[in-house]
């Protein structure tokens, strides 16, 4: 079982002080939070991607590479990488590069994002969200699995004899999760390829997550990747802890009431009842988190949101200390009653082993491209 945190990098005013961090502060805080996550023994740090204020989550690959250079063990991931508006050629290059730099400590979660205007910013049409996710990912897989790709599709210029560099580390591409809150087509996509499926889980009632996870599990089995309970499932979670649960409710309420996305809506109590949000003692967080298995089955990755809605860095680090305290109990709880045939989340090492061992996949080629600008221009004039 992998346990970690995910962030969307929101720059939000702290409602208790009225203070808004600068971009610099928030970017550095994100790095501090990721390093702390490794210190307390978490397995995964994942960052979201946004291309507009009030977020600092653009260019996630720079953030992940920078964190990768300052950590030893933690898996770096995304939540999510925009498969709709990001060129799959760039995704193939960027994440293969981070694989090499971090010795395979990277995987990624693909999503369509929740920001409508981002599509036109990158020249795409939001009405094609699902189709973009499907075509772009089909290309991404080929760019990683085939050294030389000829490709023609609907949403991108064709590729002829194209090689994405660097080639995946040791011949094995990063593991891919597909994240979607409510699009069955994406669960279907994850199941078809035998990839992981992640449900954000935190904004909606658990019944929705249950429905999506169930669909993914059934279709995973349908496509012959294993039994339904062997499908690779990840869930989000949202927690705020104090040793005393009343203190947790008192301290978190102003952040909840003013939070982006759901603030000024339902009460903290209603939202706690309807969604996976847990505000209380570490013991309560432990119990509620372990109860997710009742409807999602034994799963592989649990990511918590701990740093949003204007919570100051100091508080976030305190939250991670508390999470660290219950981590051994949480791991024990997740292991309890878990059948032996339920796999762990794939890692670089396990995928290399499954592929029959590491092989260097460097494409050694003669450079016939660099310095050819003049030649191409001449050909154009001649033609």
């Amino acid at each position: 079982m992998q346990i970690g945190i995910f962030t969307v990098g929101d720059v939000t005013t702290d409602p208790t002080t009225g203070r808004t961090p600068t971009e610099y502060e928030r970017i550095k805080a994100t790095v501090a939070i990721a390093k702390k996550a490794e210190d307390i023994g978490l397995d995964v740090f994942a960052t979201g991607e946004h291309h507009n204020p009030p977020f600092i989550a653009s260019n996630p690959t720079a953030t992940l590479a920078y964190i990768g250079a300052q950590t030893e063990r933690i898996i770096l991931s995304t939540a999510t990488t925009l498969i709709t508006t990001t060129d799959p050629v760039l995704i193939a290059e960027d994440y293969a590069k981070i694989q090499h730099l971090t010795d395979g400590r990277v995987d990624l979660m693909l999503g369509r994002g929740n920001t409508g205007p981002v599509y036109p910013w990158f020249g795409k049409d939001i009405r094609q969200g699902i189709n973009l996710a499907i075509e772009n990912y089909a290309l991404l897989r080929r760019l990683w699995s085939e050294d030389v790709v000829d490709w023609e599709g609907r949403f991108r210029t064709p590729l002829q004899g194209y090689t994405a560099t660097p080639r995946p580390l040791e011949g094995v591409a990063p593991f891919v999760w597909h994240g979607s809150i409510r699009s069955p087509e994406i669960a279907e996509q994850a199941a078809y390829y035998g990839d992981g499926y992640f449900h954000n889980h935190i904004f909606w009632p658990s019944s929705h997550a249950q429905q999506m996870v169930q669909l993914y599990r059934q279709r995973f089995e349908h496509y012959g990747h294993g039994s339904a309970d062997q499908a690779i499932v990840g869930l989000g979670g949202q927690i705020f802890m104090r040793h005393n649960s009343q203190d947790a409710v008192r301290d978190f309420r102003p952040y909840f009431d003013n939070a982006p996305v759901y603030g000024h809506g339902p009460t903290l109590e209603e939202f706690t009842q309807n969604t996976p949000l847990t505000v209380g003692s570490p013991q309560q967080v432990l119990e509620k988190t372990l109860s997710f298995r009742e409807y999602a089955g034994d799963y592989q990755r649990q990511l918590f949101l701990v740093d949003h809605a204007g919570l100051p860095l100091k508080t976030v680090l305190e939250q991670l200390d508390l999470l660290g305290e219950i981590l051994p109990e949480m791991r024990k709880g997740f292991a309890e009653g878990r059948p032996a045939h339920v796999p762990d989340a794939p890692t670089h090492a396990s995928r290399v082993a499954a592929a029959g061992g590491a092989k260097d996949s460097t494409v050694h080629a003669e450079d016939t491209m660099t310095g050819t600008t003049d030649r191409f221009q001449k050909e154009e004039v001649d033609a």
């Binding site: 094609q128 699902i130 069955p184 996509q189 009632p205 209603e270 939202f271």
Partner: protein, 215 residues
Amino acid sequence: MTSVVVVSAGLSVPSSTRILADKLGEAVRRSVAARGQEVDVQHVELRPLAHALADHLLTGFPTGDLATSLEQVRRADALVVVTPVFSASYSGLFKTFFDVLEPGTLDGKPVVIAATAGTARHSLALDHALRPLFAHLHAVVVPTGVFAAAEDFGATDDGSLDKRVDRAAAELAALLGNGAGEPAAAPVRRQVADEFAAPTPFEQLLREAGGNAVR
């Protein structure tokens, strides 16, 4: 069993909107039963759902009774919808309920539109506000809309309100008699629930992605 859901958006208790809703519900029950069909008429009152509706706007999901009511509407064979006229149109509460419906929910569904107001001078709200709204939602609105002003409920009423109620109910029953249980003439939009019941196979999704479909 034919299921008819009556949605009413009255705010006061008792409300004239609910009185009209009851009249229409009862008339529809009689008309459908008269054609030999078994019918079940259920009422959805929006006033107790007001908080949940505001929350839905902010969170994107329905809770508790609102979720139940939306599901009732989704499963209904036909609807009767009744709103008070506020500022020359349907009330905000009424509109919010239809705003949070899953797209495609009302595709091809027969609907009776009805409204109440303090004065008969608002009667055109049915035709300039409700009818276009339900046309947009791809519902099949019966020709007779039922409008009741305060005076229609009073002693001056000559029974014409009841006549309009009966006519609208009969029109709805006729539509149900024609179409109940049969596939819709036009293709109905696929909803998330359909996708869960019978997922589109990925090979088809791949073909669609490369074709000219929008998804």
